[in-house]
Amino acid sequence: MGAFEKLAEVSTAFPSGPVREWQDQGKRVIGYVCTYLPEEMLSAMDVLPVRLGGMGVSDTSRADSYLSRVNCSFARCCLEAGLEGRYDFLDGAIFVNGCDHIRRGFENWSVQETAALPFMYLLPVPHRIFPDGFIWFKEEVGRLTEALERRFGLRLEEERLKEAIAEANRTRRLLRKLYDIRTVDDPPVSGAEALTVAATAAIMPKAVFNPLLEEFLKETESRPGVGHDKPRLFVAGSLMDDPEFIENVEDLGAIVVSDSLCIGARSIWNLVEENGDPFDALCRRYFEHEPCPRMSGEFKRRFDFVMDQIERSRADGVILEHIKFCDQHGTDNALFKHFLEKEGIPVIELERQYGPLADAGRVRTRVQAFLERIG
């Protein structure tokens, strides 16, 4: 079994094999949502951070009785998984007030006495990147640290934090190499494979993931290309933790060469500064990293990031996707479309559903038409 297959195998089970092995050592696992949670802080306390999603959820009937049809399908799937007990193996969950949907999903889960986990925490993150906001954020991360220390009898030590930062930076650098590989004329890695790898990084210990990714990167040197003469596409928008959407696109004869996704380029592009006060550096990196549309007044930075990535990956066209009812990405995508088209870059805007509600047929039809358009 090659390295990619090993990583892919991890991604198909939740909890994955490495998570179970971690727990077998008597160590704790905490689920989280959102790229604004400084996960190194958990790792440094020997708590494994595992990114939550709706894996395995086949319908959202329980969640739908709390969230509604106007709430996004990702939030509904996460709540469903919580209410079904799929997350019961976790010692706790930390959410972020990332958007209206996910924070309400968290609240609904938290108030269910039989379904809530022993440790349920919401990290409030400011909605602007500005000096006072940073102070607030750092204080809040400090409060979270104290809550974890109190609840589990742990201690965040500076040296361990430095180690965790170094390990996570290594993951980011390796994933960045994966993005570099995809910029060549005939990339040996598909977009679906790249997303699988990026998503796997968020659900297993970095110390186990990093060697596997290194092995995979080595394997790609002898892999044949998978993108010869194919239209090169760039994807931006709402959260995507399942490669199915990109597989669908690539099955139509295109290759996805880069992205602006939270499980993707946006979360790996910025490193944590390894010199100086590690806690301060960690908070700064998370607060100021390539911003999600939840951060107000940062559209120009998001647009510049998208333009840089398009140029770097030499994309021929752009897919702007958002999960239905996701106002953050839906609105950003409308602006991206407006400004990208002004730059002469072909764009298709797609509204989609997450998880079991995904409407693959409609997406395929529209992407096919788009591919014909960009020739």
Partner: protein, 468 residues
């Protein structure tokens, strides 16, 4: 279908409508030939609005003063540029006083959006145009029509956008960013903290003061202490009068006409800090006290005291008179006039006044209730329990405004808490506060009648028979 109108005259046309409505005579004979002819000349939508405002003498008296104030207000928007005043678009949870103090003209986006309904072409063409030009249809109709107005170039662009809805509502925040980027308008955001405690207030206040500095630069005016005090004093006076009226709502039966809520909301969001706001509330209080002393109330008698647990329906003002004159339902309030926790402004000095204005903003609807968890202090649950109990609501409805994802996302838990703690039931509806096409008023009325029938079978079964 009526089209969006180009030509930058949308606001002028609003001024004309309000000026006309501000000159209604004290006495109107609805059976007279001229009034009948006037009513016949109106389309159904405008006729309903006119009757809701003008038929009841008390409502008419307070509405005349309100309309005069609104006419002057919208006229100031039209004339702002010629008078060297800068126009700022703000959301409904940002109080207007600071703009008046800096000789700027604040335009509440949701109020402007609602006022497009006074235009001959109505709101729909502007709602649709915003979506045709790219905005997701799931964004809020309370602001979408303003995007449509800008797309149609039916009004001039503002000089600045100031948003303070961060954390309380994604659509509200994003639409300001959208307008700023798409129409190239400078935009500033005040971050709203998740909690409602001293630390959070200090954080918000620092952000608010930062905004004031920027507004000084944009307006070209330095904050003048005397002018600020004058504005804050007017604002406090208006708040006192409004509070007296709100206090009257505690009486059973409630003497305050349902339509007051609509005028109150628009006044609160646009005119606080002006003499026009004080004038309106003085007349409104006078009418409400008179009604209280004469034992006047909804007709035929107060059968239900009703509250929207979040926003209500604003696209058809006949809703208010239907409750008032046919159903015997007191519409006590909706969340947009949950204003009991708004503090008075300490006018000692500039510092206390800025601090007071920041405190007003932090307690405005939605910011107060929805910025954090539903069950935090000052959150949706604690406020609902307070208002339902204090104003003796018999029942609640969640209007289900499509864009309110944060409210939709916790509605059930909140409604269950109110039912459990106070025994007050809630009806969940699915509608849109500004777009009649999502759920038409006839359907809303039918659903509410059925709901009321479950609470007061005898009275409302009869109502259904009469209606059919």
């Amino acid at each position: 279908m009526t089209q969006a109108q180009q030509g930058q005259d949308a606001i002028e046309r609003m001024v004309a409508t309000f000026n006309m409505a501000g000159n209604l005579p004290e006495e109107i004979d609805f059976e007279s030939a001229p009034v009948k002819a006037l009513l016949e000349s109106m389309d159904e939508r405008r006729r309903k609005t006119f009757l809701a405002m003008a038929k009841d003498p008390d409502t008419r008296k307070m509405s005349v003063v309100f309309n005069r104030g609104m006419g002057r207000y919208w006229d100031s928007v039209v004339k702002a540029r010629d008078q060297g005043r800068k126009v700022a678009f703000i959301p409904f949870n940002f109080s207007p006083e600071i703009f008046y103090a800096l000789n700027m003209v604040p335009v509440g986006v949701e109020i402007l959006d609602t006022m497009t309904m006074t235009l001959e072409e109505g709101i729909h063409p502007y709602l649709d145009l915003s979506v045709e030009r790219g905005l997701p249809e799931t964004m809020c109709s309370a602001q979408r029509a303003v995007v449509g107005l800008l797309e149609a170039e039916a009004m001039a662009k503002p000089d600045i956008l100031v948003n303070g809805a961060l954390g309380g509502c994604d659509p509200n925040t994003k639409i300001f960013e959208y307008m700023g980027e798409k129409f190239d308008i400078p935009t500033i955001f005040v971050d709203v903290p998740y909690y409602h405690d001293r630390r959070s207030f200090a954080y918000y206040e620092r952000g608010f003061r930062e905004v004031v500095k920027i507004l000084e630069e944009v307006s070209g005016n330095k904050l003048d202490e005397d002018r600020l005090r004058e504005i804050c004093t007017l604002s406090n006076r208006a708040s006192e009068l409004a509070a007296e009226i709100t206090e009257l709502k505690r009486h059973v039966p409630n003497p305050v006409p349902n339509y007051f809520n609509m005028n109150h909301l628009a006044t609160k969001l646009t005119l606080m800090g002006t003499q026009d706001a004080v004038d309106f509330y003085e007349v409104a209080l006078d009418r409400c006290l008179d009604r209280y002393h004469k034992g006047k109330h909804v007709l035929p008698e107060e059968r239900i005291r009703f509250m929207f647990m979040y926003t209500g329906f604003y696209f058809d003002n006949s809703f208010y008179s239907w409750f008032q004159e046919e159903m015997g339902v007191s519409l006590v309030m909706d969340v947009l006039i949950f204003l009991d926790h708004i503090p008075y402004i300490d006018t000692t000095n500039v510092d206390t006044m800025l601090s007071g204005l920041a405190a007003v903003n932090m307690n405005l609807p939605m910011t107060r209730q929805l910025k954090g968890s539903h069950n935090l202090h000052g959150g949706w649950v604690s406020d609902l329990l307070y208002y339902v109990e204090r104003y003796k609501a018999d029942c609640l409805a969640f209007s289900g405004h499509t864009a309110c994802k944060q409210a939709w996302g916790i509605y059930r838990v909140v409604a269950d808490r109110v039912q459990k703690e106070l025994g007050v039931p809630a009806l969940r509806m699915e509608g849109d506060g500004w777009d009649s096409r999502i759920t038409p008023m006839e359907v809303i009325q039918e659903q509410l009648t059925e709901f009321f029938e479950t609470l007061n079978p005898e009275a409302f079964a009869q109502q259904r028979v009469t209606a059919s």
